[in-house]
């Protein structure tokens, strides 16, 4: 018996969507997620990119990388697995060939990056520092990629290692570093705390869950690397839980939420759980303008519910009221 407050709808145009991630001001909370938006260009055919609050690029490494063998993707119930293999053009080509286009857009450009080992993470941050003032607003450090072989796993699962790595990268750049965490851990708060202590400007939650699918006809995995990253609405409950855990335990740490956002109500759930902005990933594949659909629906839904501004609902979730006390006639 939860009483639902009768809310008075307000004018959608009056909804104040502005938000901030630490010092970074955003006109609204909707960004496009890393690996699901390439370097942005292809989307220009389908939508006005300047309506986005920002985007996170495909993960960049110091040197260009080729991807994994195929098949690289498959669908699962309300989700998909991918094992792209962190294919990217490399930091140098990114700065020379991709960044100028992004810099022109006037939106928040987050460069997702990673390295093959400790040193190469730091090298990548150092290389990308050159993009400060030339279009890059945030470095999103991916310590959570399930598809990279060397080292990888410890960066994302051992708090001390993540702490050292974050600190080392923070030291070589003046760009804010948002650390993207993996959900494949027992204690996400410990990870968030470790990177926050090391100077992270915020955390992105969550990357994909590691999963597998099997083709019973061929007796082979459905993706060539056996395991891949699970994304989409299937993982939304896990993502919301982690956002809420971190927001509750570390209220000062800004969170960018993601995982299965397809519509405006999904985005609002993340915001209420404690995210100050969100990224739209897999949904971009279903329709290139998905992030704008999320934005338009978010505004409409907030108006519907009489919510005047994003800032008033970030992290607003409270426990249900306690039940009425029990009277036991027998004792």
């Amino acid at each position: 018996m939860t009483a639902i407050p009768r809310t008075t709808a307000i004018d959608p145009a009056s909804v104040d969507l502005r938000t901030r991630l630490g010092k970074l001001e955003l006109p609204h909370p909707i960004l496009a997620a890393s690996g699901c938006f390439a370097y942005g260009q292809q989307f220009a055919d389908f939508m006005d990119l300047r309506r986005l609050a920002g985007l996170s690029t495909k993960g960049i490494s110091p040197k260009p990388r080729f991807g994994n063998p195929l098949p690289r993707i498959c669908e699962t119930s309300s989700g998909m697995l991918n094992s792209i293999g962190l294919e990217n053009v490399g930091a140098e080509a990114f700065l020379a060939e991709k960044l100028p286009f992004l810099a022109e857009l006037g939106i928040s450009v987050w460069v997702n990056f990673f390295g093959e080992d400790f040193a190469s993470y730091v090298e990548c941050a150092r290389l990308l520092e050159a993009g400060r003032g030339h279009g890059i607003d945030v470095l999103e450090m991916n310590i959570s990629c399930p598809n990279i072989k060397k080292g990888g796993i410890e960066f994302g699962t051992v708090p001390e290692v993540a702490h050292r790595l974050t600190r080392a990268c923070v030291e070589v750049t003046d760009l804010p570093i948002v650390v993207k965490l993996t959900p494949n851990v027992a204690d996400v708060v410990a990870m968030a705390d470790a990177v926050a202590q090391a100077g992270a400007a915020g955390v992105s939650l969550i990357n994909t869950l590691t999963g597998m699918a099997i083709d019973v006809r061929t007796r082979r995995p459905r993706i060539a690397t056996m395991y891949g990253g699970l994304s989409g609405p299937a993982i939304k409950p896990v993502a919301l839980r982690m956002v809420h855990q971190v927001a509750t335990a570390l209220p000062q740490l800004p969170i960018c939420g993601m995982g299965g956002i397809l519509g405006g109500e999904d985005a609002l759930e993340f915001i209420m759980a404690g995210a100050c902005c969100v990224q739209v990933g897999t949904a971009n594949f279903a329709r290139p303008d998905a992030a704008l659909v999320v934005l338009d629906e978010l505004r409409a839904r907030m108006a519907d519910l009489g919510i005047g501004s994003v800032s008033e609902v970030v992290g607003c979730i409270r426990p249900l009221p306690p039940e009425a006390p029990r009277v036991d006639p027998a004792g």
Partner: protein
């Protein structure tokens, strides 16, 4: 591998859902919002997604069967997994989200070379469109269809090729129409004859992957330019997810089915 009008994303409605027998269905659409396909090169495709809820996330790829200047277009398909099954069951009036036209298609027929169109199953549409366009330019005589299937019902839209004046060589596994066996046998014979006659030919093929693998070997063996329209599992269809990798020879190990293809030259494709 010829390109292309700029793609757009728009909403369309199902105007016609026509069964051709053998499980094949033609869906005809017209746009209801935003863009339209515009001119399409044979081999280009669209990504289609119905109102599927959240269980099936990604759109599905379909070669364009035809596209009219008024914005109507059609695809040919068969129920395979869940997405195609839902599309095949679409009632008239159903809405779909369309992105397209996507990819790079076949090069048009020209006067110099005879194009041998090798089709199987739902791989027919690119070759059907190639023939339609050639015929519209009065070049139907420059191409020949080699079309294979399991049985009589597995060969559809034959009347169109006939009407366009395209010669057809048919083969069925059960022998109910044309030669018994795979269509690669008469194809190989045709290459032998062409070489003997000094005739310039090239192969354009689309169909099930095992068929394309066989056609590729034949093309390589006979040193005939061979273009394959490939299918890889796709999430986005426009070059951003990097899911649809095609193994290739050359400086980079992979190209992308949706943006570099779906038409690839046989010798470029890194298959066994």
């Amino acid at each position: 591998m010829t390109a292309l009008a700029l793609p757009s994303q728009f909403s369309a409605r199902v105007d016609v859902n026509r069964s051709l027998g053998g499980g094949y269905v033609v869906l005809e659409f017209s746009g209801v919002s935003g863009g339209a396909l515009g001119e399409v090169v044979a081999g280009q495709f669209v990504m289609l997604r119905g109102e599927w809820g959240r269980e099936l996330l990604n759109p599905r790829a379909f070669s364009v069967l035809w596209s009219e200047p008024d914005g109507r277009f059609a695809v040919l398909l068969k129920a395979y997994g869940q997405g195609t099954s839902r599309l095949v069951a679409s009632p008239v009036g159903a809405r779909v989200t369309v992105t397209g036209p996507l990819g790079r298609g076949f090069r048009p027929t020209d006067g110099a070379v005879t194009q041998l169109l090798v089709a199987g199953g739902v791989g027919l549409p690119p070759l059907h469109l190639q023939a339609r366009q050639a015929s519209a330019r009065g070049q139907a005589a420059r191409l020949e269809l080699f079309y294979g299937g399991r049985d009589r019902d597995d060969l559809v839209l034959l009347g169109d090729f006939e009407a366009w004046g395209v010669r057809s060589v048919l083969a069925t596994e059960d022998g109910s129409v044309g030669a018994r066996g795979f269509v690669t046998a008469p194809l190989e014979q045709r290459l032998v004859d062409a070489r003997a006659a000094g005739e310039a030919v090239e192969i354009l093929s689309c169909g099930p992957t095992p068929m394309l693998a066989a056609v590729r070997h034949i093309g390589l063996r006979h040193d005939v330019p061979t273009w394959l329209c490939l299918e890889e599992e796709m999430a986005c269809g426009f070059g951003v997810c990097l899911g649809c990798a095609v193994p290739v020879h050359g400086a980079r190990p992979y190209q992308y089915c949706c943006s570099d293809g779906p038409v690839f030259e046989a010798k470029q494709v890194r298959w066994p």
